[in-house]
Amino acid sequence: MRATPAAYEELKSRADEVWARIASPSRTLIKVGVATCSRVVGAEETLAALRREVDAQRLEADVMVTGCLGLCYAEPLVEIIQPRGQAVLYQRVTADKVAALLSKTVASEGVAAEMALATTVGRGFGSVPSIESLEFMRGQVRRLMANCGVIDPGSIEHYVARGGYEGLIRTLRMKREDVIKEVQDSRLWGRGGAAFSTGLKWEFLFNAKRKPKYLICNADEGDPGSFVNRNLMESDPHLLVEGMIIGGFATDADVGYIYIRDEYPIPVERMTEAVEQAKQAGLVGRGILGADFNFELEVVRGAGSYVCGDETGLLSSLEDRRGMPKIKPPFPAQAGAFAMPSNINNVESYTNVPLIMRHGAQWWAAMGSEKHKGTKMFSLSGQIKRVGILEVPLGTPTSEVVMQMGGGPPEGRRLKGIQPGGPLSGVIPAGDVDIALEPDPYRERGVLMGSGGLVILDDSNCIVDLCIYFEWFAEDESCGRCTTCFAGTRRMLEILRRISSGRGRMADLELIKLLGRIAQNANCFHGQGAPTAVMSMFRFFEEELLEHVQRNRCPAKVCRGLVRYEVMHQSDLLPKAEAICPTNAVIRDNGSYRIDQAKCIKCDACREQAPYAIGVVDEFAGV
């Protein structure tokens, strides 16, 4: 066995020293989560206020930036670790609450119970539960997310001290074939949605003999409502860097690209910084850690295109042109980026590999279901109490994630359905909420589990309205190559809009199904997947669809062409409705109010102001 290279030993001992001061601080340590979800509710202002106050009051405390725990609903989060006291996580700590928080905690060595969310070390106390016992956390298994919200994403030392790059060290002592075999033994499949074996893909690239070879990370995460990759890249960027280096070694690749969507500025920044740190540490570049292995790594920022999340669309984008998906074959392993052998995996596929190589395939595969091994990250959004990001073993019941961890729909509303993956994935109805979160049960229902987004619908939402969104999205993002896709989605959208405006006809239903079949002839999955949501509407929400077509009624009262606003009875609140109306459609005649239908844009503002006096009625009642 070869000696562990000295460069890594040095880094490791420095890292241990740095981390010791974080893990068991000698004075109060304040961690502030700064990531996309917390920044938008003021985490940077909170951080600045904390630093200012700690300085001004000369408190014995250090302030540190960390990533995101995934509890978006409670941001900005601040963790205060007191060497002789509790470690407590505080929720919704905006800048204006900083002074009160510090005076109750650091200054007096106490706990600000009214702002506390949970304790992060040991058991809960009083009214403050332990973090593991929170409904959002119970049942989660955090492997990929182990460092999220714990370490400073800008510190390679933190990552190394917590076992980072151990998997790479072990990899570099092995033969390439054995690394690929270990990944295959784990039965890791691609987390981007296609669920194809990662190890097998690597074997294809390994077997390709032309050089240079490219290893590409698809961090385009374009599915609206999916934000799991974002969290990983901004909270633990080195995990992806290590996964890419291991992949580069196993497949004998020369260059790696991490293609991140333009909508993710913080991940771009933190991944770029992490790659730079890895270069400095001799983990990327020539002769990595003294081994006969060269691997360059570069972060590429996209420019706003959904189809660049298709693997061949991404390749086109790398090649200085329109990101249009290519026709396969040739497959990327034969002729990918710049017509050279290439491999493309999702962020979550690569980030599982360091864990497999660190702990072994057997350890890794111990979690998950019979058929699907490992854990998977999911993001929860839409009509749900707790919006956030979590990680569970594959095979966990969907209901556990949505109803328990996410808390289900808001009070008084009923679950209607769940849209997993993205706009091309379809919708499952509320009645199927108990199915296991793994690809097969979803596929049996004509739906794709996808890459990790779970968007929740409740009874205030209309399925036709949602399908219009999906078809609009598919049409808007179509690259324009295949007529079945760019024109098919356009026709589909026209028909759905007709239905939602009260001019639907029974023949439309057959036309939609026909377009759905035709779309299967599109070149890439964008066109093929475009009708999925509409097909699941036929399968699970047919009654609601027929109500639109046959009776010109929208049961949820969402479709604009099927409803109108009316003054139901006079009320003191109606002057406020008149004042808010952006188009002056609330009109007073002889002291009584009515709505001018010609001016009304059906924006709902008047009903917000006068909720009982103004009602939404069926435009075609009694038809």
Partner: protein, 210 residues
């Protein structure tokens, strides 16, 4: 053979078209270190847009020369990406999230009132050039749904009434309601920090969040 595989029409550098010599010089500087077939074109777009707020027409022939391809391919590529713009941004741009979480929580109502009050269609600039509405994709800040973004700030979750009052304040029209305008609201609906009272942009050019 393979080095040419990405384009089927490699040309000699084309003559620069007429345009501002200053702009041409600046763009040439910005892209000086970039190379064809090295995943640099996207970086070129970002650098130019960061500098000018959009990609000026002078950039097209320069990029074609730099990347050894035709102006048509360069323009087609610019046109393909929704975050790369070929016209200067409006004085004030409001970004409206089109994502599913926002949709399910009523974002279309907000879109309607913004279009009505700002007198501006989506992805267009108002006739007086003051306001631009831009459709943006979900970036996973769904705890604020439905939301709009303005000068890098996120406003949400917004009720329709709040959107109306905020938009009226932007246009300088006095709001009739009493609500907190331009308020960042926590997921619980409680106001956590007000601001954006400075929402009337004093003519300072805002650049899309970089």
């Amino acid at each position: 053979l393979f080095s040419q595989a990405s384009h089927n029409s490699r040309l000699e550098p084309v003559e620069p078209v007429a345009g501002s010599t200053e702009v041409i010089a600046r763009i040439s500087d910005l892209i000086a270190d970039l190379r064809p077939d090295d995943v640099d074109l996207l970086a070129a777009f970002h650098r130019i847009q960061h500098e000018f707020g959009y990609v000026p027409r002078e950039a097209v022939p320069l990029l074609a020369g730099k990347f050894e391809t035709t102006p048509a391919i360069i323009f087609g590529t610019i046109d393909f990406y929704s975050e790369i713009r070929t016209t200067p941004p409006a004085e004030t741009t409001i970004e409206w999230c089109s994502g599913p979480a926002c949709l399910l929580k009523g974002s279309l109502n907000i879109r309607r009132v913004l279009e009505a009050i700002l007198e501006c269609e989506m992805n267009r600039v108002s006739a007086d050039g003051r306001f631009g509405l831009r459709l943006v994709q979900c970036d996973g800040t769904c705890h604020l749904a439905p939301l709009v973004r303005h000068r890098g700030r996120y406003l949400g979750p917004l009720s329709v009434s709040e959107s109306i009052e905020w938009a009226r304040e932007l246009t300088g029209e006095r709001g009739n309601g009493k609500g907190e305008m331009g308020t960042v609201v926590s997921p619980e609906g409680e106001a956590v920090s007000s601001g954006s009272g400075e929402a009337t942009d004093h003519g300072d050019k805002e650049r899309a969040e970089e």
